[in-house]
Amino acid sequence: MMLPPSASPGLASALNKRGVALLAVLALVLVALPWFASSYVLSLAIVILYFAYTGQAWNVMMGFCGQLSLGHSLYVGVGGYAAAALFVHFGIGPWLGVWAAMGACMAFGAVIGALAFRFGIGGVYFALLTIAFAEFTRIGFDHWEWLGASGGFFLPVAQREFNDPFNLRGSGRMFYYLLLALDVLAFAFCTWLLRTRIGYYWQAIREDPEAAQALGVNTFRYKMLAVLISSAMTSLAGVFFAFYYNNLFPEQIFNMGRSIEIILGPIIGGLGTLFGPILGAAMLTVLADGITEALRMVGLEIPGVKQVFYGLCLLAVVIYLPQGIWPALAKRLGIGPRDGHRQ
């Protein structure tokens, strides 16, 4: 795609002093948010954090390693259903169920990766393959009675008064902090990954797989690794989704629209960067919600407006700001990297 910026070694050089200060303020706001925000703002923040997380997970595969997956909703769905099934059918709590979720998703990812990379399927064909798998799974789950089929799979209705973090039953506040922690961990993990040999090899593969091979990079192994890590990370989002919303419908969760929603944040924010997915998710969610609210105040409730807005944003970014918004913004605000590193 458009040339993603170079990964520089670590957070410290990704932002200059001003940037770090800004980040500290942001961190403070995020931690304190549930205490002064209304429940509406809280739920909005949860949506932002959710898409920031899934965007980060997807970014590992595409932004870092250059493998375009347009069927990432597959992992959200499989992860969610796996953990939910264990909880509802066997009484196994989500903290154990999460391992099954990751395992199941990694299995799916392994199959897709093995098929694609063994047979040299890349680029657009790979993207189509991922879409096909997601759709295939959607239809499959639509007919899987044990998991509710198309009628949906439901977790016991949660009370929101007191928190039971062991079973992930509780208030919005609990879910918020959980998701925030997940986001922070994902961010730290991705920052670390980029600085390792794996991270550099991924970027080499993204830039020029043939040249990477000539330098001794086993492209099959590293592409598989990217898929496995990305799918495992995404599965956690699925688990969260299942326990927060308490219902799963194949038509919704495996939907291709969901896959597209996942990728909008990172692309608009900045592919391959660390802050891109978060920025993109925040901007899109806030603006989209703003539009919906504004329309509602005028008395209009039009389905599809939000998505048209997403489409226009994507169009604008693809045409005018192919690097995403984060690089341009960082420069503008003067919080970008030192030494001319690009992050």
Binding site: L3, P4, P5, R197, Y200, Q203, A204, E210, A214, L215
Partner: protein
Amino acid sequence: MSEAALLSIRSVSRRFRGLSAVDNVSFDVPPGHIVALIGPNGAGKTTLFNLVSGALTPDSGDIVFAGRSIAGFRPDQVCAAGIGRTFQLVKPFAGLSVLDNVLVGALHHTTRVASARQKALAILERLSLADRCHVPAAALTLPDRKRLEVARALATEPKLLLLDEVMAGLRPTETDQMVEVFRRLNREQGLTILLIEHVMRAVMALSREIHVLNHGELIASGAPEDVVRNPHVLECYLGEESAV
């Protein structure tokens, strides 16, 4: 007394849909030598490189490197065996900095990123690119990209370096600089080099032996002075009249 060859190309052939790109080519590259491969465009030189580096598999014949057959190896396995290569049309990691480009190469043997980075910087120094180490590779001029390509391949610590037309597009002074770099690497580290080259200035300055390819076949081999006077060689470059 003949030394055991570092690279031994034995009766290698490769066809593309009926067209013989490389036809029963055999020659050796002794360790520590600089050997040139020349020939008109389309003679099969880059195809031969691709066969050695693992980008293509020979239809017949064998390629033996340091006593081991490497025919059919994947490119990354060939690199692990100790062969580095550059590409005729340079392939930099455009979105990465110059330093990061070479770092990827250095990571082959040095798995710790910090040490690999030191190594990469040292190599960039040798190739006079250290002052631009943070510049994105996409912003380099062609001569610098060629040097980057060489630096990157060197970072994998090869025993044999395959250079594919690295002098093309360089001015005479730049060519001389490159020649000097290779001479030093050959002298100080014993790096064996097999180069495809059209720039005769570099070929004559560097190589100990020259092999000439035409229409996929090896038509002449020998010391530079002899090869350039060989009538067959002149004929394939300049046409039949020149051989008279």
